[in-house]
């Protein structure tokens, strides 16, 4: 019974979180957004003390149920082991293995150090929930969107607007590769030995394991009933039951209840044991050290091949549109609500939830080694639209704080920079002003390029005090592949 409850709850969480990462419309988040927010590491980084304490208390009372119910990566491993079990004709050959304490401690130390030193990429690599998020958003969301697009095509034919098409695009090769490697490694480990990852590498598992050691409720073997068949040991995917010695390593037990159901003799029960000492751990791993300054001082984007307006002689047809290229930004842009590059680096676990929900193609995982896979904005596919606050709504880790649409319009995440040699009125000799026309902040004016000649081509001038760095100008600039106006990020966001 306990096992069935565990499986039911685990499936609810697993499917819910998967849906969060698949959904690109932002509707699921309104209902299930909390499922991401109760994840341990994001909650810790967001300094949601309430959630962290509640999870620790939960573990202290029930053991590591977090790992078998709430954590999507944990449940994913259970799913893989379950499939493995069917393929192996129902017989699992797990066996007790000694705890690899040294490995757990090493990984834990590395992880804490990475957190303290602000090496976001390493934190992101080890964080379990984020690893799952990356797998779904880089590998499965594209499939989901493609399927949606098929339905959208059918809807279009039926003149229905129930579905709309969304773009599938390669956001980052690095992140995709990491996701593939993570999936393969974890799946292979789970196929062969169950919860190896959770009990050797996962820092959350290690921390909760430490608490679970003293948990109030835990599976206990009744020696008087045990006939020594070792069925429990063979079915323990955490490899933590030493049947011979009638001992369970509670730091590794994820409270899956499989052993309780398996035992023919009813020798294992989930029992109340009040004899433990009160050793709590408040999980306050303060992150206070600043991460290294951003580097990459480089020359500004060059080489512009502007679409030449050729004289038309026949009717119809469409001009070829060259793809925009990403300008080299001295300071990367982070989305509104992220406060600063530092805040982003310290809180983000690179789960990709914001990236998977961004409807404008703005957010993508960074390729900078120091903050690998953490989100970054760029405007060659779209711009940070004034009515959208989706990334801020979904972020579970406090890396992007919740903001309102009104607040967004007053947050300067960067400022626009004009590149004279790309500007169409000067190169093509035509009227433009598309940047000024679309600036939601009214920060761009068009002025005559020659102060003495009112008839001279008009060029944009930017009032950086008003500019919020949304990128409408950069995205809608007709100059290609490099825009004549682009956004430089602000390391610390400002408020107007």
């Amino acid at each position: 019974m306990l096992r069935k409850i565990r499986i039911a709850l685990a499936l609810i969480f697993f499917l819910g979180i998967t849906a969060l990462f698949l959904d690109f419309t932002g509707t699921v988040h309104a209902w299930l957004g909390w499922m991401a927010k109760v994840q341990f590491l994001p909650a810790l980084l967001a300094l949601h003390v309430g959630i962290v304490v509640a999870l620790l208390l939960l573990t202290f009372v029930l053991g590591r149920v977090y790992c078998s119910v709430v954590c999507p990566l944990g449940v994913m491993q259970d799913v893989v082991s379950r499939i493995a079990k069917f393929r192996k004709k129902g017989r699992n050959k797990y066996a007790y293995s000694a705890p690899k304490t040294w490995l757990r401690i090493t990984v834990m130390v590395v992880f804490v150090l990475a957190l303290l030193l602000g090496v976001g990429s390493l934190v992101a690599l080890l964080a379990p929930y984020s690893a799952y998020g990356r797998i779904v958003s880089s590998l499965f969301q594209p499939v989901y969107i493609a399927a949606n697009n098929v339905l959208a095509g059918m809807a279009e034919r039926a003149d229905s607007y129930a579905f709309y098409t969304a773009d599938v695009w390669m956001k980052s090769v690095a992140t995709l590769s990491v996701a593939v490697v993570t999936l393969v490694v974890i799946a292979v480990l789970a196929w062969r030995n169950g919860r190896t990852y959770c009990n050797t590498i996962c820092p959350v598992g290690s921390l909760l394991g430490f608490v679970a050691r003293f948990s109030l409720l835990k599976p206990v073997i009744d020696k008087s009933k045990c006939n020594g068949c070792r069925l429990c040991e063979r079915n323990c995917k955490a490899a933590c039951i030493d049947a011979k010695a009638h001992k369970i390593d509670y730091s590794r037990c994820v409270a899956c209840m499989d052993c309780i159901d398996k035992c023919h003799k009813h020798a294992i029960s989930y029992a109340w044991r009040a004899k433990t000492d009160h050793v709590g751990k408040n999980g306050d791993e303060k992150v206070d050290k600043s991460r290294r300054a951003f580097v990459t001082a480089t020359a500004v984007a060059t080489a512009s091949a502007i679409l030449k307006a050729q004289e038309k002689t026949v009717d119809g047809g469409l001009a070829v549109i060259e793809d925009k290229q990403i300008p080299e930004r001295k300071t990367p842009i982070t989305p509104p609500g992220s406060l600063s590059a530092k805040n982003m680096a310290q809180h983000c676990t690179a789960c990709q939830l914001c990236v998977s929900v961004c409807p404008n193609g703005v957010l993508r995982p960074s390729t900078d080694m120091m903050k690998l896979m953490q989100p970054e904005s760029s405007y060659e596919r779209g711009y940070c639209r004034p009515e959208c606050t989706k990334c801020a709504d979904v972020c579970p880790a406090g890396a992007i704080r919740p903001i309102t649409v009104a607040e967004k319009s007053s947050i300067q995440i960067g400022h626009a920079v004009w590149i004279k040699k790309n500007c169409i009125p000067l190169t093509d000799g035509v009227e433009c002003g598309n940047c000024a026309r679309h600036c939601p902040a009214g920060a761009i004016q068009m002025v005559a390029s020659d102060a003495d000649d009112d008839e001279s081509p008009k060029i944009p001038v930017i009032n950086t005090e008003k500019c919020i760095g949304c990128g409408a100008c950069e995205n809608l600039c007709p100059a290609r592949p490099f825009s004549a106006i682009y956004v430089e990020g602000h390391e610390v966001h400002r408020f107007i």
Partner: protein, 473 residues
Amino acid sequence: MKKNMKENNKNIDRRHFLKVLGVGTAVTTAAMYGCGKKERAAVDSLGHHDGETSADKMTYRENPTTGDRVSILGYGCMRLPTVSSENAQNGEDEIDQEMVNKLTDYALAHGVNYFDTSPAYCKGLSEHAMGIALSRHPRDSYFIATKLSNFSPDQWGREESIAMYHNSLKELQVDYIDYMLLHGVGMGGMKALNGRYIDNGVLDFLLKEREAGRIRNLGFSYHGDVEVFDYLLSRHDDYHWDFVQIQLNYVDWLHAKETNPRNTNAEYLYGELVKRGIPAVIMEPLLGGRLSNVPDHIVARLKQNRPEDSVASWAFRFAGSPENVLTVLSGMTYMEHLQDNLHTYSPLVPLSQDDKDFLEETARLMLAYPTVPCNDCKYCMPCPYGIDIPSILIHYNKCVNQGNVPESSQDANYRKARRAFLVGYDRSVPRLRQADHCIGCGQCKVHCPQNIDIPNELHRIDHFVEDLKQGLL
């Protein structure tokens, strides 16, 4: 598990969609049956047995100068069918020659004998395609009309223009042209007329070609500045125009100025031609489909009056009824269009005075809809910055006609209309080709025969889209 996931995601909207899909299929099937029956019935009542419009019932008009018997239905070759391909949205569509041949054969077999093309049509491929299709028939079985489409100032030179004329003969595989037109005079005013045809002596050259018999009829097609129209007619005694092509339909007859103050009512244009006894060739009888794709209550109104006839047939009967009309051009992309038009004109049932009053009332009702008067002629294309101008305007018009252009968020159907407009916008026009990318350079403006202030309209639509997206209405 996948199934579970799906069920989780399914919301009412999707369920509703699937339902609509199901019902839609059923209705379509029913409608198709319905059509079939109706058509058979209509045909039977006219006494045909072959299930098609009879080939010998076409109405013909006589050209007073050459005595040509011209079918009242003329084939416009500006909207030839294309092979739809993956890349069609990127402008890489090709003409479907096989279908062009089929349509041409069918049209000729059913009495159509006037084909109107231009070196500029269909990205410059129309003449070539029509040359292939028509050269398979005896030269005396059809009249070919083409134009001197030297719009771009680089083509204003005498040699370039004459080369264009010779190239037309080559592409069309003929050694004489039945109907030759100065193309779109009025666009660009007197300046363009002088630059294109007068100063470089090209008009004199064409007059000589007419004397030599390589041009059997010389005329001009007119759009835009009425000064040019009046000027050319005032020189009729010198030039002896054999025909003039004008835009005529039941909206432009009396209301051209209401759509655009720079346009001229067809009643005036036609009247001037009658005065001088010059036959009129009619273009845009259907306004690029805007007179067949009309709001539902107008469909109901027209259908109620003549339930067996198509919406488009009203427009064609209107254009064909005046006696001085030589032929009515229709750019028929699909076989169904051709068949419907053949049905309307085999034979033409001229409008009664009641019918005319009825259409005049209909025109007034249609003017209440703030559509952009774009006929999808694509003269504005290609936009050097990649904007798909006609698709944007057509999408906007479609939404206007379907009531999906909400004026305020308080409108009863606001949410539905907003979604239909925005989702439909992304479907009709790729994002990079939408109105927000229009820089307002104005290069398209001079090419529009309907005098639409294109950049202004695009910016207005873009502004509306922004209001919808940001929820500012």
